[in-house]
Symmetry: C2
């Protein structure tokens, strides 16, 4: 999942097999790579929504800023992910999106998607699948953030990122990237940064994981999975109907 083109078809392949012509059809949608700098906000809540994006390099996140100054991170995107597809039917962005690090984004105008709708009900279903998977991630996070302890929340989010990393690259062992600061983890988990720090320290002292410079070394994946009471691996349960 690098700078090269083909991210879109790569991503869609998670949801069902693609013929060569369908791959070409999808990859033909991708615009040129736009360079994005760390911290850059490239969509803002309320902006006109005329295209969706594919993150071809770097990590990003979507967020909402509230009146009281707090920020909530809704989604964390990793390279290869599709961004903003759920806003396709609407005129405006429902959340802002910013880069966690330097990267590249390729845009696809919504009208190209409508062409797909006209041409291929198979690809239409896949678009639905992409959007639904993201919604499933959101639901899952809602469940895990509402009535759960800080330990459970942190464990859940780290395990989600671990699972998604493995989905993209099966060769991943126990080290994976988490380029979020503790402030950002806190904003994603609804905790204070201070308490995120305490929780991570506790996990380190218990020998569950170690964190350094944007990487997590998972010493005891089982313990983390149990702590987060992960029911099943979402991407295993989600299978596209043929």
């Amino acid at each position: 999942m690098g700078q090269q083109e083909g991210c879109l078809s790569q991503h869609f392949k998670h949801y069902g097999r693609l013929s060569d012509s369908e791959c070409r059809r999808l990859d033909g949608l991708e615009g040129p790579a736009l360079a994005m700098a760390k911290g850059q906000v490239f969509w803002r809540e309320g902006d006109a929504a005329r295209e969706f994006g594919t993150l071809s390099r770097g990590w990003a996140y979507s967020f909402r800023d509230l009146a009281d100054g707090t920020r909530h991170i809704l989604e964390v995107f990793m390279p290869g992910d599709v961004i903003g597809l759920r806003e396709f039917p609407f005129k405006q962005r429902l959340s802002s999106v910013a880069m966690l690090e330097d990267g590249e984004i390729r845009l696809t105008p919504h009208r190209r998607l409508i062409e797909i709708f006209r041409d291929s009900s198979r690809l239409t279903s896949l678009c639905f699948a992409v959007a639904s998977y993201q919604q499933a991630l959101l639901s899952e996070r809602l469940v895990h953030l509402s009535r759960r302890s800080a330990r459970q929340r942190v464990a859940y989010l780290l395990f989600e990122l671990y699972s998604r990393t493995k989905r993209n690259d099966d060769s991943i062992e126990d080290r994976f990237r988490v380029p979020l600061s503790q402030q950002q983890l806190a904003d994603a988990l609804g905790l204070s940064p201070v308490h995120v720090s305490r929780t991570l320290t506790a996990f380190r002292q218990e020998g569950v994981l170690r964190r350094l410079r944007g990487w997590v070394h998972l010493l005891d994946p089982g313990a983390l999975e149990a702590e987060g009471s992960i029911v099943g691996h979402l991407h295993d349960e989600i299978e596209l109907v043929e």
Copy 2:
């Protein structure tokens, strides 16, 4: 939004204008009304997902039961709402669905939806809109449940239900139905039932609202809206691109 047919087109109209033939096309999808009893669970997490539903009478909710015995309510459905559309691309239900009261549901097999995809890119876009609106509600709830006080959570949920009620029936003044017990409100808000009770009592004593027999009498909508820091009315911001 009663027992009669036509719920589907009624619901879709929220997202864009429909021609007569499109209305007929949609309403032709609805199966016969199935009677459901209060408390009845008609989909269970993991069940095969072969159809979506339209709630033609009564209220319902979707939920997840966790290993530790807690339940989390993800969505609250009111008459006219579409249920389980987001599971269209998948084989299994991602959450269970149960009735809050007696009612009726009409089912539509997923393959009928694929026919729509083939026939009409306009209706395809509308399907996307229906799913995306529900996702927007979920995101909104995620934001409001994560780092907010009990007062803010309760205010937010009640105001969401108030707004959605008004979306369906503009003549609503200040009384609207909320057929959820405090236990169920707690399960939707990630609070204990005890604290929901205390919070509602506080609102009553402050003259914000009164609750009786599944109805809420809103004495001071502005106070509730401010308490929940509602940014804007979701359904105003969401407009389908033509």
